[in-house]
């Protein structure tokens, strides 16, 4: 199973080309769009989202093709990470670093294979997809990967006290993991004091609250209202915990 995790856009021209490249090299692969609307070029938010979504996957048997790559065509290295049994393929720009730091067991390889035709701006299609297909099909190409001691770029892997994603309902996910906040903690967001609730239907219509969402993150939501717009939250908005 190959999962796509990119900022290439669900409605754009890039994802289809990635899938064509994947199926060319691994015709029997199952491909799932995990998320193709990672906040554009936001490697830090992407790194924390990737870690949370990976945890929520049903099985270990997974190749995650993760590309948020504002530096494509520059000197950053393409890498493969194996972390707690799963494969990750992407740029060494920090995107995989939160997964790596939270993993019990991990190994890193630099991708030294290069395709005959490598575009300057779409390594997702030309370089990362073939390698993901190779890993999914189980047969390594001679000399494609070269083990290295670790990632070059490591971002902060501790809980992030800001908004990392706003979903289409207007709910704002934070980089704070469940369990990190006691249920009597109060979250301060844009000057508003938010209390915990277990689920939407527990609060009055229109009320905004925080809860632990289905991928293990603290999320700010409203019951039948769009919390992000009500409180003017966007990716990057800082939060405060007061308890």
């Amino acid at each position: 199973m190959i999962y796509l995790f990119t900022d290439f856009g669900s409605c754009d021209i890039y994802v289809g080309q990635m899938k064509a490249a994947l199926l060319r090299h691994a015709p029997a692969a199952d491909i799932i769009d995990l998320l193709n609307d990672v906040p554009d070029q936001d490697v830090l938010a992407g790194a924390h989202l990737l870690a949370a979504l990976s945890e929520a996957l049903p099985s270990q048997d997974a190749v995650l093709l993760a590309v948020v790559d504002p530096g494509v065509g520059s000197g950053r290295h393409p890498v493969v990470l194996q972390a707690d049994g799963r494969w990750y393929v992407g740029p060494d720009n920090g995107l995989l670093s939160v997964v790596r730091q939270r993993a019990k067991n991990w190994r890193v390889w630099e991708i030294v294979w290069r395709p005959d035709a490598l575009s300057d701006s779409f390594h997702g299609r030309d370089l990362f997809a073939p390698i993901a297909a190779m890993l999914d099909s189980g047969a390594w190409w001679q000399g494609a990967l070269q083990e290295v001691s670790g990632l070059e770029v490591e971002l902060e892997a501790a809980d992030l006290c800001h908004v990392i994603y706003v979903d289409h309902y207007g709910n704002a996910m934070t980089g704070i993991r469940q369990g990190a906040l006691p249920h009597d903690a109060v979250l301060l967001a844009s000057g508003n004091r938010l209390s915990h609730a277990r689920v939407f239907s527990e609060v009055p219509t229109g009320a905004v609250f925080w809860y632990e969402n289905s991928i293990g993150l603290v999320e700010i939501a409203g019951n039948c209202s769009r919390a992000a717009e009500q409180l003017d939250l966007m990716v990057g908005t800082m939060l405060q915990v007061i308890s």
Copy 2:
């Protein structure tokens, strides 16, 4: 064949997780995104859209995983409906009730199976997807379903004289089924009198009209114009028939 019909958003993090859960339990399943942008949390519009889209499917051999579920985590029951040969899996909140009332033959089961890990907010992934996979693969799990006499929540299944969906072209679908309006009927929408045309190319550029669309519903459309914006139509806008 498993069809997804949800308000989880085509561009969001939820649909991929649903598919991962489906393929975990039914690795050979074909999954089609029928619509993942049902108007958010709008159970009534969803119920009428589901009935119309179901009718338009090519075959009886289908499992429809239908989740528009603002009450997730509250007391509403998860159910399976068999209607005229098709399977529907979703919450008993009215979403399946229009299909049921229009069906010639139907049976209803409550889902009594529960997964080891059931999130409070994402039963689509944790509860409904495994049951849909079970139905698709054809082997019922012992004791997973318990037949009941009917649905608890039943919404109005007669034609709805309001807008239930606006597509990306700006066309506004109503809950009125084809055949319900004679072709000389006039539809009054936001104070505008609209006449029937068979197809876009029959009216002048920019003209707005009503026609019977490809899923059997009366739809308000403009030729090379966005009818919904021109006439200020949105989901829920009431219409009048004058003939």
Copy 3:
């Protein structure tokens, strides 16, 4: 492999119905969404995008189901084009004509087959999808196609000096093919003089430039900025080359 290239909208009700129709007739087909957000009803932009995206596909073994069809239900003919080994299925309204004119070898057939139920407004589902499935499965239906001498509608296939697509990053693709502009050419867009760069990371943050993109077209982009909004570019905006 069947590729979808339409203006039906990735988030709308149409693509799922197309896939249901495809899988009904070709149950083993792999289907890839190449692009379902071609600028609405823009046949000229679509024709140039289709030619560029076709070129970028990894293999010859492809059926492209291409539907941008504002004249559906009128007199335009449904056709099949074979061009340099690939199959294209769609309306004879110009959409396939850029591919045809640039092909070394080509043949055209009119689709004379009609389904039992043909809606007036959704030939993509009812007529084109079954024929695409037929071509993908390799077994022609007796009498479904009738060879003709060429397309009826031919659009300009030379490079187009205007914007044909704006992606979700805010990059603006033109209809100018790579190689047509020397690297010291200056592109004039909304009064701004744009120079060439090889890749995003070569220019300062916020700077706008032109480059040759991953599907072989000249594209106007900004490094960490949204060029289309900065320069007020949209599909159809004319450009000038000054060198």
